[in-house]
Each structure stands twice: as structure tokens, then as C-alpha cells.
Symmetry: C2
Subunit: 257 residues, 2 copies
């Protein structure tokens, strides 16, 4: 089983879109995929038609002190796409940091839960909230590899430096190395700022940046209205073709599925 | 003095862009503007050339138990734009929720600080992080009026419902009413999903939605590279013209400046 996380403290860079698009491609190939939504705003949960204000049980229950681990197999739920299951988020997740306060020991909750599901899924893909806290820390501790979507615009480069420093910090508390891959998103080849930023990304992080880029594709908005991954709805759109190349790159580097 | 906040738990909808653009217009008119960055990722702080990892003192100091209120006048700092001062964010703000834990009484820290600066500024505009927590709560408690940027795409409508329920919750703990205005952003009239969503927004929230829309304008990316508001750099670009209409609407409804 492979465990990937998609994270960036900057909002609106395509984290949810990346997780959902990759899941669509993997399901198409016959893989069994578990998507995990760690964002209290529940974009991915809502994408598949669930209501983050009422859906239960989900990720939140994992963090309760009285959670019965025997109930874990009931948590992943089927979605409208064959091959994709979802561990949903709920809005109450936003209170977790305050509830935990100074208590430690809650950084490996997701890591332990995901390992127990290893026989049921081929790939787990974790979507992160746009803020550093116990939810993002859990995702970074649970994953084998991290994808960092970065919008191809200038300010995003500065934000990336901060994200990488956060990763260095988290790296120290992990037993294993945390390989990460930078994924340029919302690339618009007609905009000079976008082209310059992509070139700058490649020259600053040559070994970390994927050699492709996800283009701006208005069909993503159409797909999100229908609650189906673009890679399932329009497998040959520009956006889908780019995500297919990214997936190929991820699988080539690893040991395949 | 008017106090506005810009907030939405959804990431990447144009919160920072809205705060910065309005500030540019107000400064052009001769108003004294204070921008407050409550986002630990520090997008607005970085926009003006400060480093959120090292800038101090700023918003974070306000929350320390040992903060000396006499030092408050030193906190706002000049920016490269005449008429705009900034109360910067730092990355340590991300730890605030955990530090506070179950402690109460920190919801009015910003409200008190802003009132003490009333003689120095005409307008205060607060940029929020994309997550509900003590920082967003402080911004909602401190403002007289709230702007909620909403991207014109379908899933954003669902996210807006959740945001409005959060506002209803916060409303109960405020002594004063919290008027809010929905600002359609990233509007692309060539995309069907965008046009349909805008129509849906207007029919669902007729009294809350501003009657304009901020169009997609690639010059925003250019402006952010230079760290200058688009409304200062290219005052007659499509984006600037739209924000000018929004500002006019805000000032007409209030009692002017
Ligand atoms: N390549 C793309 N082309 C066009 N639109 C895109 C693309 N990728 C994402 N989008 C759109 O941009 C918006 C933001 O994407 P998304 O919600 O995936 O970002 P996010 O990083 O998950 O945001 P958040 O920080 O709120 O979690 C969505 O409306 C999505 O449809
Ligand atoms: N009207 C617009 N046209 C084109 N690009 C825009 C527009 N408004 C914002 N952007 C771009 O979209 C991106 C997101 O905007 P911004 O950072 O202001 O959103 P945000 O809601 O503050 O994000 P976060 O949730 O991370 O705080 C930025 O790259 C910005 O330049
Ligand atoms: Mg998301
Ligand atoms: Mg912002």
C-alpha cells in the first residue's frame, strides 16, 4: 500500500483537485483507493456529495479518546466513483487543536489507522487543510511521500520556502525520511508571471520539482459541479492528461503498485 | 474609523487580494489605512516584502500575556505604499490555538488593540486565515463589517453555506450585529460554471451579495510579484475597476469616511 499526502499552507493551490484527480486515474486502472479528508472545511467530502457538518463517523472520531479501534473498518465509505472510498472530514475538526492544547501523543493517530487498513487499499491519498496544526502534522507523519502543489505565481515561491522549512521541522520528528515532490499547478502559459515562476521553480529546486505542470483548465470547475473527478469525466482534457503524466512519474519513481 | 474583515474558510478565493486592493484604493484617496494580517502563512505580510518567519513585533505579540499595551503604537509599520501601514503576521501564530487550549478570554484581543489605534487610521482591513480558530474569531469580533469573497464555482456555494453557519454562531457571541457582504471573485464570463454560479449566488442571497463581480485578471499576478496593489500599479485594469465599484458600494452603504 502506498500512502501519499497533498499539502501546502497556501490556500487554493489545487490540493483537493490533485488528490481527487489522482484518485480518479488510479480507480480507472483498477486500484483500490482511499481518500482521506483532513480539512475541517471538508472540500473533498463535499465534492463527493457528503455534508461536512453532519457526516459521521469520519476522521474526527479517530481522535476521540474513546474511539474503539475495532470500528475502524466501518469508517471508509463508498463514493459515487467505483474504486474510490472516502474517510470524510467534519467541521468539528477545526476544534481539535484547542481541545488537545498542550497534550502530546496525538501526532500518529492517522498513521496507525491507515496501517490497519493496509489489506483493503492499494493507495491512500490524504488531503490537507491550508494551515499547520495537528491535522496537517498527522498527514505528514502518516504518508510515505508528499505532494506539494504550488501555484505558478510569484508570491507562491515565498510561501513555498516557508512550507519547506515546516517540512524540515517535521522531518526531524519522523523516523523515516519524508520525500516530497513539488507540483506546479494553475499554469497559464499566456501569462508572463506564470512562465517566469515555473522557470524559477525549476532552477531553485531542480531535484524536487516534477518536470511537468498542471495547466489551467476550466473543465475542473465543471467536474466539481458534478462531483466526479475530471480524470473520470473527461479523461482526455488538458488537465487530465497532465495528471496522468504526474501519476506515471509517481509510479515510475516508486516500485509501481 | 471603519473596521472591515475579509474572511472565508475556503482557501485561495481572493481574501488577501481583496484586502490589498481596497487598501490601495483608499490610500489613493488620501485615507490612512491599517492592514492587519491574521494568517500564520503571512501572504499579506510577504506581499509587502516582510518575512513572516522573522518579522517582529506584530500580531503575535498582542496575544502574549506579558504584552505591554503601551507598546501598541510601535506595532504598525510603514509599507512601500504611502498611506498603508501593516500589522504583520508571523508563522508562530499557527501555534496559538494549541497554546490557548481550553483558556477563554482571548477572543477580544484584536478588538481592543484596534480601538486604541482609532485616532491614527481611517480604515482598518483585517485579512483572515482559511481556517476557523482563535485568529479568525478575533477578526470577526473586531470588525464592523465583513467581506466574504466567494469564488464563482459550484463547490464554493456549498462552502459558503458552511461559512454562513459559522457566522451565525459567532453572531450570537457578539454584542453588535455583524453585517456581511458576499463578494463574487475570480469571475470568468466565458465559463458556464462561473456564469451559472453567479446567478445562483444572486438568487440564494439577494440581500447579501454585492451586485458586481471581481473578474479574473492576470495582472493581479504581476502586481503581487512587485508587491504593490494592482489598484495602485494599474488603476484602470479590469480588476481595479471592479474593486473601485466594490469600494464605492461599501462607502455608499455606510456613512462615508
Ligand atoms: N488546473 C486547474 N485549472 C483550473 N482550475 C483549477 C485547477 N486546479 C484547481 N482549480 C480550481 O481552483 C480552485 C481551488 O482548487 P482546490 O480547492 O483544489 O485548492 P486547495 O488547495 O485544495 O484549496 P484549499 O486551500 O481551500 O484546500 C477550485 O475552484 C478548483 O476547481
Ligand atoms: N480576480 C483575480 N484574477 C486573477 N487572479 C486572482 C484574482 N484574485 C486573486 N487572484 C490570484 O489567486 C490567488 C489566490 O488569491 P489570494 O491569495 O488573494 O486568496 P486568499 O483567499 O487570500 O488565499 P488564502 O486562503 O491562502 O489566504 C493569488 O495567486 C492571486 O494572485
Ligand atoms: Mg482543499
Ligand atoms: Mg490570503
Amino acid at each position: 500500500m502506498k500512502v501519499w499526502a497533498v499539502s501546502n499552507q497556501k490556500g487554493g493551490v489545487g490540493k483537493t483537485t490533485t488528490a481527487v484527480s489522482l484518485a480518479g486515474l488510479l480507480a480507472n486502472r483498477g486500484s483500490r483507493v482511499l481518500l482521506v479528508d483532513m480539512d475541517p472545511h471538508g472540500s473533498m467530502t463535499a465534492y463527493f456529495g457528503f455534508d461536512p457538518e453532519s457526516v459521521s463517523p469520519g476522521v474526527y472520531e479517530l481522535f476521540r479518546d474513546d474511539f474503539d479501534a475495532a470500528r475502524l473498518p466501518e469508517l471508509p465509505r463508498d463514493t459515487r466513483v467505483d474504486g474510490i472510498s472516502l474517510l470524510p472530514a467534519c467541521t468539528a475538526l477545526a476544534t481539535l487543536d484547542r481541545q488537545l492544547g498542550a497534550r502530546h501523543g496525538k501526532g500518529l493517530v492517522l498513521h496507525r489507522a491507515v496501517r490497519q487498513l493496509a489489506d483493503r487499499f492499494d493507495v491512500v491519498c490524504i488531503d490537507c487543510p491550508p494551515m499547520l496544526g495537528v491535522l496537517m502534522i498527522n498527514a505528514l507523519a502518516a504518508c510515505d511521500e508528499l505532494l506539494v502543489p504550488v501555484q505558478t505565481e510569484f508570491l507562491a515561491l515565498k510561501g513555498l520556502e516557508r512550507m519547506i522549512r515546516t517540512l524540515d521541522m517535521v522531518q526531524k520528528s519522523r523516523a523515516r525520511e519524508l520525500p516530497y515532490r513539488i507540483v506546479p499547478t494553475l499554469f497559464d502559459r499566456r501569462t508572463r508571471a506564470s512562465v517566469d515562476t515555473l522557470r524559477e521553480l525549476r532552477s531553485r529546486y531542480p531535484d524536487r520539482v516534477w518536470d511537468g505542470a498542471i495547466p489551467v483548465d476550466t473543465q475542473f470547475r465543471e467536474a466539481s459541479r458534478l462531483g466526479v473527478p475530471l480524470t473520470v469525466l473527461h479523461p482526455w482534457s488538458r488537465g487530465s492528461q497532465a495528471y496522468r503524466k504526474l501519476l506515471q512519474n509517481l509510479l515510475d519513481d516508486g516500485d509501481g503498485l
